[in-house]
Symmetry: C3
C-alpha cells in the first residue's frame, strides 16, 4: 500500500508536480507518425502530461510541438493555418515556427520589435519507430534519445499502435509489471481446467534496479528440473517490455499520461531479425474483439477509444466466462483495461489495498518512482544511462535449469554486449 | 427552514457522516429480489449510502454483499466469476465467500497464510417482501429485522417496484410526509373546479413521535359532522406508509440514498387479507405515463430510470395542464418526481425556504433525524422498537366524527394488538 | 495581461460578486420578445447572471420575472400554471403576481396572514426593440431605460436574434471591441492575396471614455490622403456597436452572462430611416453556414445553440482554409465563436497573454470595468448618463482626410444633437 500522500505524488504528472517533473526528464511517446504524416497538413491538438498541445508538420517536414494557445490572446492554434514553414493563428495572423519563434505579427506597426519578444512555448520532438516522441522538460536537461531496439530497425520490422485508456498511467504500468495476472485474467481454458495448475500459478518474484529503471522478475518451478523465468524490463518513466521467447516478436508498452485520469497506451511489436510476417501483423490488426490475439487493440481512428470499453461492460460475455474464458471479455488488452480502468475509478486508492508476494515488481517500481521524485525536489536529477544503447534490450521468457541466476540469464539473452547496462543483483 | 449546516448534516449519508451513521443503524432496501434471482448468476454492482457494492447469489442461494473492489489491488469484483460458493476476482483469482472470507489466493506460495489475514468488506442481507435488504452498520449494533406487514405475507399479497430518482433522499421523504400537496400536485379536475374546495384544501397538522419514528397527521374539517384524517407513519430512517382506507391496498415507500444526489425509490403495494387482484396489479404495472394510476412507475429494466424525467420535462402536456390536470404531467409518481428532483437542483437549499402550517410533518421528521444524528455523535444509539412487530402497522385515511382523537383512531385501525408500539400524544 | 485576481474579478458576475454588482446597475437583454409572445402561455426558465429565473406573461400581457424556485419549498415554478394574472406553483398551489406578490396560499387556514409575509423575488423588466430587458439590481438604483436608437424605431426597422455562446461574456466583448481581427479572422481571399495588404492590416488605436462607456477607435492610413477610421462604442456593461458606414444598417451586440461560462449573444441589426429590406433580412436569416453573411447566426429554436460549434470543430473546411477563407469556418459569427469559446477553455487565463498595440480598446474596457467594480465596493455607484438619449448613438466606419479628429468625426455622425453625451479626448 501507499500512503494517501504518496499516492497523490506518484499519480499526478501535470506541470509543477513532483512526478510530473520526473516525467519531464525523459523522452515520451506523443503521437503515431501516421497521425502527422503530411507537410502543411492541419495541426493536431492533444493533451500530454496535463498540457494542451498542438503538433504540426511544416513545409520542410519538420515537426512543431507548441502550447495549444496562441501567446497573444490565447485563441487555439488548432484553427491555425499551417503554411510556408510556420503555423499562423487565425485570430490576428501571428505566425510561429516549429521552434516557437514568432515569424510575423502583421497588424503591428511597421518597424515594431514586439515579435522578437514573444515566443510560443515549443517542445523538442524526435521521430523514431513510427512514433513522434516529445521531451517536455528543461532544455538543458534533455537526454540523448534512447536506442530502443525497434527504433533502429527498418520500418517493416515493427508496428506501433496507440489506444486511449481512461485511467491514471500507473494502473496500466502496474499491470504491465505484474507477471502473475496473466495466468488468471488472460486464461482461456476451453478443454483445460478452469484454474491454472499450482506449479504454473505460483511464482516467486525478484527485482533488480538498473541504469534504465528496473527488472521485474518472476520464477515458476515447473518441475524439479525446470524453472520458468519471466523478466520484464521497466524503462523509466513508464515503459515496459512484455516477456517474449525465441522467435516470438518482442513487445514494448508505454503508459503516457494525457492527464491524471487518461493515458495513451502505446504498444509496439518488433522482430529484431526480419520483417513482421502476415500472421504477426494480423495478430496486431485483429484484436481480441475481432478474433485476434495479443496486446494490441483496434481503436476508433479519431478518438483512439476501444470498441469494448467501460460504457459497454467491455462486451463481457457471461456465458463464455462460464465455459471458456476466465473473464468472458474479448482479448488480452481489453481484459487488462477492464481491471485497470476502474480500480476505485480512474485513480486507485492504494492506501486500502492488500499486496501479496506477486506484487513485488509493483512495489519496486513505485519505490523507484517516488525516490526519483523526492530526489528531484532536492535538486538531484534522475540518473540517466551512460549510453543510449542501455535501452537496446530484450525481455526474457525462458525455461532453464533451476540453478541458473536470473541476471546472468538476462545478460546472456541481450542483443548488445555486456557493459552498456549496469544492474544490481536480483533481490 | 434549516441552517446551511443542518442541511448539510441531514442530506449527507456517505460513510462517516453523522446522518450516514444514523442510516447505518437500520435495515434498508437495497435490491429487488428479482434483480438477483439465480444462484451463480453474474454479480450486480450498485451504490448504497455512497458505497460501491457488489451483490451475488452463491451456489447455495445465499446472498453476498461486498465492497465492489477486491481488497488486493482494487479491481472491480463486478467482472468476477460467481462459482462454487464464492466470487472470484478475475485479476489474480482471489476468491471470497458471502461473508467476505477469502477462500483462495491461487498465486500465493503453497502454505501461505496470507488469505487468513484478508477479508472483503461484507454486509448483512435479509430477503423479505420481494426485496433484498442490507445493514451497513457495525456488526454489534444490528437490529432485528422489522416485521413490516407485507414482509410476512404470501408473495401474491404484495408487489414491490423500484425507481431511480435523481435527487437527495430527503426531498422524496419530505414529499411522502407532505399530506397537503396531494390536493394540488395530483389534482385531475376535468369536470370539477380547477382548485380544490377550501374544506378539502385546508388541513390542520399534528405530529406524534413513536418508537419506530413518527406519525404525520393531517385533518380536514369536511363539515361540522365529518373530520377527515390522514395519518402517514414515518419509519426510521426514510420509509413512509401512504394513507389508505378500507379495502384499498396499503402502500410503503422507501427513499434509499445511492449517494447524496441519487436515490432508489422503493414502492410496495400490499393487501393484508388476500392476493392483489388483476385491477390492482394493472394499476401498478401501468403507471401514469401508460394510462394507469398510483405511486408505482414504469422504469427501464436496467437503469431503473423513468421514461418521463427531467431531461424531457417529464413529458408535460401544457394543453392538458390547462384543461384537466393541475400539472399536465402524467401520473402521481412522475408528478412527485417533477417537484422533488429539482428543488434548487438535487439538494434543496433549505435555508431559503418559507414553511407554512402544512409543513409540520416535514419539520418534525427533520428534527427527529437531526436529533438522532447529534445523539449518535455523542455515543447515544438511535432508539429501536422493543419488538420487531412495532413496524407491523397501517396508515390511516378515515372520515370520523370531529371529536375522535387521532392517536386513538390510529391505534383502533392497527393489525396488531396495542402495546407493541409506544406513541406520544399528537401535538 | 491581468493578474489572476483581476481576471477572477472581471469574469465573475454571479450574485454578490464585485462585477456581478456592476452588471446589476444596468438594464440587460434577457429574452427575445418572440420567446414570450402570448399571455398565459407556459413560463420560460433560464439563467441570467448566475440566477435561475422564470419569465411569464400574465393574463394582462404583463411580464413577470421571478426566481425559479417557489419561496415555499423551492419546487420549480417552471411547472407552474400561468393563470388569471399570476403564476401558480403546482406543488401546493401558491400563486404569485408579476411583482412577486403572493396572491394565494390555498392550503393555509382561513384567515391566515402568512401570504402577506412571503414574496417571490421579482425583477423589473422592460420590453423594447424586440427584446425583454431585465434589471437585477437594487430597486432604488434602477436607471432610466436607455434610448438605444433601435428601441425607438418601428418594429420593421430592426431585427434582433440571440445565440448561446459557451464562454465567459468577456471573451465575446473583447472580440467585439477588437477591430484588428476582422482583417484576419474574417478574411475571405479568393482572388485576393491570402494576407491583407499592410496598409489595411496595420492600424493605430485610441480610446476615449464617455458617459455611457467608451469608444474603441482604430485608424488605418490607406494612403497619404485617406485615413480609415473605425469607431466602436462600448456601452456599459457589455454592449457594443459594430462599425457601419453609409446606408449599411447598424449592428448592436450584447454579451449577457447566463453564468460565468455561458452567455447569451444578442445581435440587433437596424436601419434608422427605413424598414430593413429583403436582402438585409436574408443576410440575417441565412448565416454563414447557410450561405449568408454577417454577425447573426442560425440557432436551434429551443437551445439557441449554433449548428457549427466546438463539438463539431465549427464545421471547419481545411481545403477551403487553404484556397479561399482564412479560417475555413463558415460565417463571421461562427468564426468569432471558434476563437472566443476556447481561449484556454471558457475562461481565458489572462495572466499568460501577450497584448499588442491592437489590444488598446480591450485594455481600456477592462480597466473601466475593474474600476467600476472597485468603486462600487467602496460605495461609489457607476456613473449613469445624464440622459437616456446618450445611448442613442451610431458607430462609425469612414474614410476621411488624415487631419480629421476622430472624436469630432464621431460627433458629426451622431443622430442626436451634441451635448447629450460627454466624451473625453481620444488617447
Amino acid at each position: 500500500m501507499l500512503s494517501v500522500q504518496d499516492n497523490e505524488r506518484i499519480t499526478r504528472t501535470g506541470p509543477g508536480t513532483p512526478m510530473g517533473e520526473v516525467f519531464r526528464r525523459f523522452w515520451v511517446p506523443a503521437l503515431l507518425s501516421s497521425e502527422l504524416a503530411d507537410a502543411d497538413a492541419p495541426p493536431l491538438r492533444f493533451l500530454l502530461l496535463g498540457e494542451r498541445l498542438i503538433a504540426f508538420r511544416d513545409s520542410d517536414g519538420r515537426i512543431g510541438l507548441l502550447e495549444e494557445q496562441c501567446p497573444h490572446r490565447h485563441a487555439s492554434l488548432y484553427w491555425g493555418r499551417n503554411e510556408d514553414a510556420g503555423l499562423r493563428c487565425v485570430y490576428h495572423g501571428w505566425k510561429f515556427g516549429v521552434d516557437g519563434t514568432c515569424l510575423d505579427m502583421p497588424a503591428e506597426p511597421a518597424g515594431s520589435r514586439m515579435k522578437d519578444g514573444v515566443r510560443a512555448v515549443a517542445y523538442e520532438t524526435h521521430e523514431a519507430g513510427g512514433i513522434i516522441w516529445a521531451y517536455l522538460g528543461p532544455k538543458d536537461k534533455i537526454p540523448p534519445f534512447p536506442h530502443f531496439e525497434w527504433t533502429l530497425l527498418p520500418a517493416d520490422h515493427s508496428m506501433a499502435t496507440k489506444r486511449l485508456q481512461v485511467c491514471n498511467y500507473l494502473q496500466n504500468l502496474e499491470g504491465e509489471l505484474d507477471t502473475a495476472h496473466a495466468n488468471f485474467l488472460h486464461r482461456e481454458f476451453g478443454e483445460n481446467p478452469v484454474m491454472p495448475p499450482p506449479e504454473v500459478a505460483r511464482k516467486r518474484f525478484l527485482i533488480a534496479e538498473t541504469d534504465f529503471g528496473m527488472l521485474s522478475i518472476g520464477r515458476s518451478d515447473l518441475s524439479d528440473e525446470v524453472a520458468y523465468w519471466r523478466i520484464t524490463p521497466f524503462h523509466l518513466p513508464s515503459f515496459t517490455l512484455i516477456p517474449s521467447a525465441g522467435e516470438t516478436p518482442y513487445v514494448f508498452t508505454g503508459a503516457v499520461p494525457l492527464d491524471d485520469t487518461h493515458m495513451w497506451g502505446f504498444t509496439v511489436t518488433w522482430s529484431p531479425d526480419r520483417p513482421l510476417d502476415e500472421k504477426e501483423l494480423a495478430a496486431i490488426r485483429l484484436d481480441g474483439v475481432h478474433g485476434g490475439v495479443g496486446p494490441h487493440v483496434v481503436v476508433d481512428p479519431v478518438t483512439f477509444r476501444t470498441e469494448a470499453n467501460l460504457g459497454n461492460d467491455y462486451l463481457i460475455d457471461r456465458d463464455l466466462q462460464r465455459t471458456g474464458s476466465f473473464t468472458g471479455i474479448p482479448g488480452t488488452r481489453v481484459q487488462d483495461m477492464a481491471v485497470q480502468e476502474d480500480q476505485d475509478g480512474p485513480i486507485c486508492l492504494r492506501h486500502k489495498e492488500h499486496l501479496g508476494t506477486t506484487d513485488r515488481g509493483i512495489v519496486g517500481a513505485r519505490r523507484l518512482l517516488l525516490r526519483l521524485a523526492e530526489q528531484l525536489e532536492q535538486g538531484i536529477e534522475p540518473p540517466q544511462p551512460q549510453h543510449a544503447d542501455s535501452y537496446r534490450i530484450h525481455s526474457v521468457a525462458a525455461e532453464v535449469p533451476p540453478a541458473v541466476d536470473p541476471i546472468e540469464l538476462w545478460h546472456s539473452l541481450q542483443p548488445v554486449p555486456a557493459g552498456t547496462t549496469t544492474i544490481e543483483p536480483a533481490r
